[in-house]
Amino acid sequence: MRECKSCRVKIKGIRDTCPLCHNKIDTEIPPSHSPFPTIPLRYKKNLAIKLLIFISLTVIIISFSVYYIFPSETNWPLLVLFGVMSMWMVTYVIVRKTHNLAKAITFLILIVSFLLIFWDKQTGDRGWAVTYAIPILNISAIISMFVTVRIVKLAVEDYILYFVASCFFGLAPFFFVLFRELENPVPSVISIALSLIMLVALAIFRGREMWDVIKKKAYL
């Protein structure tokens, strides 16, 4: 075992310097093994994300600059800005939530619904988002969740609350029917009916599990 004459300690490990005072030690003495394996330095490689941030910001800066030099009627750089933001929100959900597909679907409907309403408003407020896009999105989300959890064999307790949540999202078109004059109420009605059927089915067939999960998740 090597020794440090300055600190007067014995040193485990194959070293040329003392781990305490960092002075040179006598390397003629045979060393003994360190209890620590040498672990190479590790850095998280975030280059892809950095690049994406850089491109996003550059695109936004350039579009506002171009708009300033060549003004036009529609404020299109604002749309670019929100386009970029939409991309980031969807990327976030996909990266962060993919371990639980039911959860990812729930977050996606929520985010995409808001984005749709925004785009509709920005592009003439024709009402296509509430009439068609959102109800259809909800219908497909409920169906895809119903199928997905069976394909990936998700445990009941891992998806049930998200299932309930997306059924409640599916009931949202009720307010569209109530407060807006829809040009075509069929998608909304289908969305509401499907959500209600699913909620009834969940309560009847999965009531016990649902209650157990709620007790756990909401304990005070």
Partner: protein, 441 residues
């Protein structure tokens, strides 16, 4: 499908959940050095048996709306050769993984544990159980008729939330007064150690081993306990490294094992913390005055009545309905703010796990035991095992001045010390490659 059991998280764990991050992982590592190289296949089997007998270590962390909770899992622990820095992060948001890792390297078996699961005492029981089965598999004749260390209490006892068991008091559910800090500095900010952070957030670890009787002799000569001596020494080591000005306040955070006052066979967290402080002057310090001051602060804090009151207040705090109803992510933010403000009052942290006693037959095959923990400030954990006293110094900084000062104080007084350190940074890694060629075999 059988229903999974779940348990509420204890008082201390909640803080670890809120404050753990990629640098301060809240993971501690307990390592046993054997006399011979570890046999991986035997270890894997031993871990499997121990795991079956130690229900707590099956639990994983789940998130509720208001609190985290622990839920039983059917995951299988993986045992492999050590390939991560000590105390590397275990818990990750969105990850369903066990809260401990068993690793081996040459003669060493290491158990890394996320602190929200268990404290040092709980981890010692689990490691002893693993070692018991490891040696029982290797030497079946010798261990015939021996009872596994995990079977001392009942299986359920290991799972008890001792905070709730001892400190639930209906009278104290009102908002408590959290400012019952008896330390010298009161609420004053303490000196905070600065340094160069390690490049990839790993802990700087230095382990030191010595004979416990040598250090006991020194503490006896000053008329104080070993814990008081080493705490005071670490404060001195910090003072010597720090800036010189009058009234420099150095405070050490010290955990108190509550099992000594409140009977508990639980492997879960059961400790309180106290802060002891001393005001240094520009010219230096008076050793006797320092030791007496630390000694009396220890006595004041480690007292049944004051611990009972303090803990009841803390448990009362989390039983307040208004506190309960705050959504979990917001609670985390508040707990982090509280933690940040209390960090200002702490310079260093020390901890003495005390005397660790294994079954005699296990001790015969184990040379030494070390414990080290993730840290946001220079910290050590010491313990005594067989005739040894071992220290695990950890720090987020590359610098080693404080442990150096500490160890030199002991070697100056004739204590024989063996040290080892992990490698952090490029320079130290290069040193290894040169050295490797010189080692025969």
């Amino acid at each position: 499908m059988p229903k999974k059991r779940w348990i509420k998280m204890d008082n201390a764990s909640k803080i670890f959940m809120a404050t753990n991050n990629s640098r301060d992982t809240k993971v501690f590592r307990l390592s046993a050095d054997l006399y011979e190289d570890v046999k991986p296949d035997v270890l894997k089997e031993a871990v499997r048996i121990a795991y079956d007998n130690f229900p707590l270590y099956r639990y994983i962390i789940r998130r509720g709306f208001f609190w985290y909770y622990l839920e039983e899992s059917d995951l299988v622990p993986e045992v492999k050769e050590d390939d991560e820095p000590p105390c590397a992060g275990i818990y990750g948001y969105e990850k369903k993984i066990l809260l401990f890792k068993v690793r081996y390297y040459r003669k060493r078996i290491s158990l890394d544990v996320f602190h929200a699961l268990s404290d040092g005492t709980g981890a010692v029981w689990f490691l002893e159980t693993i070692l018991f089965h490891y040696f029982k598999l290797l030497y079946p004749e010798e261990f015939k008729g021996e009872v596994s260390p995990s079977d001392k209490g009942s299986i359920d006892e290991l799972l008890y939330n001792s905070f709730d068991k001892h400190f639930q008091d209906e009278d104290l559910t009102a908002m408590p007064n959290l400012n019952i800090n008896k330390a010298v500095g009161g609420n004053e900010k303490a000196y905070r150690v600065k340094g160069t952070q390690t490049p990839d957030k790993r802990m700087r670890v230095i382990e030191a081993s010595m004979k416990v009787k040598d250090v006991l002799e020194i503490s006896k000569s000053y008329g104080v306990s070993l814990t008081v001596l080493v705490t005071a020494l670490f404060m001195i080591a910090t003072y010597e490294d720090g800036p010189r000005y009058n009234g420099l306040l150095i405070s050490a955070s010290v955990p108190i094992n509550l099992r000594q006052f409140f009977k508990s066979n639980s492997a879960r967290n059961f400790f309180a913390t106290m802060i002891v402080s001393y005001r240094f002057s520009k010219e230096g310090y008076d050793m006797d005055d320092l030791l007496q001051s630390i000694k009396s602060q220890f006595e004041e804090n480690i007292d049944y009545e004051s611990l009972l009151l303090r803990q009841k207040q803390l448990v009362g705090y989390e039983r307040n309905l208004l506190v309960k109803l705050i959504p979990r992510p917001l609670k985390n933010i508040f707990l982090n703010l509280i933690n940040m403000s209390s960090n200002k009052k702490i310079s260093i942290a020390t901890s003495n796990l005390g005397i660790i006693k294994f079954n005699d037959k296990i001790e015969r095959y184990v040379e030494n035991l070390f414990l080290e923990t993730s840290a946001v400030r220079p910290q050590f954990v010491c313990l005594s095992f067989k005739e040894n006293l071992t220290f695990g110094f950890t720090s987020p900084f590359i610098e080693t001045e404080i442990p150096k000062n500490f160890i030199r104080f002991l070697t100056d007084r004739g204590v024989e010390v063996v040290v080892s350190a992990n490698r952090v940074g490029k320079k130290e890694e290069e040193e290894k490659d040169e050295g490797m060629q010189k080692l025969p075999g």
